[in-house]
Each structure stands twice: as structure tokens, then as C-alpha cells.
Symmetry: C2
Subunit: 216 residues, 2 copies
DNA sequence: ACCTGAACACCGTTCAAGT
DNA sequence: ACCTGAACACCGTTCAAGT
């Protein structure tokens, strides 16, 4: 409600986009807003409250509208969001999707899985599984885990027989990776996996109203 | 080589295990070693060097021995490692697997995928995919993303029709989650996915020496 | 080569005080 | 209700100096 809070979150997101998450200090945000650090506390309730609110603000920008989107569209949107705001990735892993905006995007994934004919009992698990992979992929790209490796070093060590797996794959490890293409291939495999879950389910896709009551 | 460096890493890991990653300051580590903060610099080269070395130390504890392990065993070992050292999860996403210990564990995954008959061309991608999921799952558990949600709040909002997906799944969202069982179910689906990749590959599993030269 | 001690430019947060 | 200003207990890192 208070415009001051929005002003504070705008400033924090701008600083994080420009100079990274570690540049987001209460002092820096306060200075950008034109106020004393302590003036932020009533509005965001401390540093962790500020970080939580920043994530909420980001998720609010996820694809809105009433149209149902495919799982693929949602995955692309999430990856793009992390590319635009790399600092958000760590925070997404650290907090449950509790803000109303976050729950809204989980709901869109539920709808996509329902549309695909996935049994209701499997949907919460598959939502977590797909989200975990998508966020993990995007954070690996932006945080450095997928950073280009030095092929020389790898092959040298492989030649020393210490790494038989690397030695066997030498040729395939040498070429540079197209991350866009890899993400698509991963989504292909995940979609096929989801279709396999649908296939092994009892009943016909689209008419699954009888939950299987096997719980062990 | 220098025993001092080992002593420093021991102290840093102990502090992180006890009081979390943010308690690992150069000052705190130095005090535990019984030395001045500046005395650490020649051995670890600053704070980020210290963090990198801590991750390397952890991966060195991953299942060793020459026996080939299944993908499932490796996944369990990785999850257990993150449970024991939750602070490592963020760091695993942030840095490429460059230390010799890290490369060693990647090599074990390569071997497991080769044993499963996965075409060589697909192995680096599937290794990244499976690792991304496993690390992401473990960090979600330990960092809070999978933290128990308040079902009341969710159902209330769902009842307000703002969340049709949640409303449709109400019954399934209410029950508490068995994270061990969910991890096993996810691994089942991932293994089935990998078998599907093997099945659609040209040639017989085990005799794949002709790479398909289709690159688009 | 390895370590110390003082200093610099930062943090998040508390507290008492102002309006 | 909202904000200020001083203070406290911290950071990582530099620098010059010791042995």
C-alpha cells in the first residue's frame, strides 16, 4: 500500500541488478531512496525481510494473464527471469514459495500438469521436481557452475588415467556447449518423463478423479 | 602440502557446520586456528579462495574406492553430503567442478551413465541434468524452499478461486511430504528417463562407438 | 617465508531522541 | 507514524613492519 515500500523495493532491485546482491546493503538502499538506513526498518523489517520482498516483487513479473501456459513456456519464462536477475536464484532456493505471487506461479504449473493428464497425486511432486531442475539450471548458468571449463586441463588429467570416464568421452567434452539447445533437450526429456508418468497411471488421461489409494 | 592450510580448512568447515556459512569470517577462522586474520592470506588467498577450498575438501569425502557405483548410490551420497553440510549447497551451484576432487565425482557419474548404455554424445548433458536436480533437491530441503507450508493458508486462498490449480489438488496438498520417499520417486523417474534416452539411441547399448553426426 | 598490529572503509542493528 | 544520529559489534582487506 505505502508507496514508500515500493520505492524501497525498486531501489533494492535496481542495486542488485546493477552491482549484485552483495551490494544490497541497508545503507546503500537507504541512500538511493534518500533516507537514513533506520528509516527502512518499519517498511521491510530488516535485511531478510527486504530480501524476501525482493523475490516477491520479481515473481510478480512472471507471465500473467489468464491464458493457460504450457510447462515449456513457464520454464522459459523462469529461466529468462533468472538471466535478467541472477541474484534472485540463490534466494529462490532459500525460501518456500509463500508470497502470493510465488504461489500464483506454482498454480500455473499445477494447471499445466493437470492439462497434460498427470494424476493429481503425482502433481505436487512433479511440480517440485521440474521447478527444482529449472531453477537449478538457470542458477548454474548465472552463478558459475556451468562456466566454460578448460578442456586442456581435463584431457590432460584424463590422459593420466585418473579419470577413465573423462578419457572415454574426450571428444564430446572438448566442444563448447550451446546452453539454449541443452535447456531445450532437457525439457524434451522432462516432457517425455511426464508423459511416461501419465501412461503408467490407471484410467484414461482427462478423467482421473479416482485417486489410487496406495500410500506405502 | 602445508599442514597449516589443512588446519585452516578444518577450522572453517567446523565453524560452518556449527554456526552456518555466514559465521565463517576470516577473523573467526583465524581465532580458531590461533593466529591473526592476515596470517590466513598466504594459505588460502582471501575469502573466496577459502570458500572454494572448503568445497573441495567436502567433495574429497564423497564415496571413494575403485568400485563403480550406480547413479542412485551417487545421488544418495550427494544428498547425504548436503544434509551434513548444508552450507555447501550454495557454493556447489556457484563454482564449476574444477577442483580435482570435484572432477573425480563427475567422472564417477560419467562411468555410471556409460554402464547404463547411454550414448556418449548425451552423457555430458545428462550428467549436468542429474547433478543439477540432485543438488537442487538437497539445497531446497536444507535451505528452506521445501519447508513445510501452512496448508490452511493455501486452501483458503484456493477457496477464493484465485488459485484453481491449488483448489483442484486440495486433498493432495494437505498431507505432509515424506522427503526420502519423494527423492526415491524422483530418482525412479530420472532412471526411466535415462533408459528412454538409451532406447531411442541408434545401435545396441554397449556397442556405441559411432557417434551420430547430426548437430542441429 | 610467515606472521603481527594498526588502520580503512565498510556491515546490520539498538537505542534514545526528535517531529 | 515516521525519521534521525550516534553508537555497538562486527566485516574483508591494505599496508608497513617485524622475525
Amino acid at each position: 500500500m505505502s508507496g514508500r515500500r515500493e520505492e524501497i523495493l525498486d531501489a533494492a532491485v535496481a542495486i542488485a541488478d546493477d552491482r549484485g546482491l552483495e551490494a544490497v546493503s541497508m545503507r546503500a538502499v537507504a541512500e538511493r531512496v534518500g533516507v537514513t538506513p533506520m528509516a527502512l526498518y518499519p517498511h521491510v523489517g530488516g535485511k531478510t525481510g527486504l530480501l524476501d520482498a525482493m523475490v516477491g516483487r520479481l515473481l510478480a513479473d512472471l507471465p500473467a494473464g489468464k491464458a493457460r501456459r504450457s510447462l515449456r513456456d513457464l520454464a522459459h519464462a523462469a529461466r529468462k527471469l533468472v538471466h535478467r536477475h541472477p541474484w534472485a536464484a540463490t534466494l529462490l532456493f532459500a525460501r518456500p514459495a509463500i508470497s502470493s505471487d510465488a504461489v500464483g506461479s506454482v498454480d500455473r504449473i499445477y494447471l499445466a500438469l493437470l492439462d497434460s493428464g498427470v494424476p493429481e497425486a503425482e502433481i505436487p511432486r512433479l511440480e517440485r521436481m521440474v521447478s527444482t531442475f529449472v531453477i537449478g539450471f538457470a542458477v548454474s548458468e548465472t552463478a558459475g557452475r556451468f562456466q566454460e571449463l578448460n578442456p586442456r586441463g581435463r584431457r590432460d588429467e584424463a590422459a593420466g588415467r585418473a579419470l577413465p570416464g573423462h578419457a572415454a568421452l574426450g571428444e564430446w567434452l572438448a566442444r563448447p556447449v550451446d546452453w539454449d539447445a541443452e535447456f531445450e533437450a532437457d525439457l524434451d526429456d522432462l516432457e517425455a518423463m511426464i508423459q511416461a508418468v501419465v501412461r503408467r497411471a490407471p484410467g484414461v488421461p482427462g478423467t482421473l478423479d479416482e485417486p489410487t489409494d496406495a500410500d506405502p
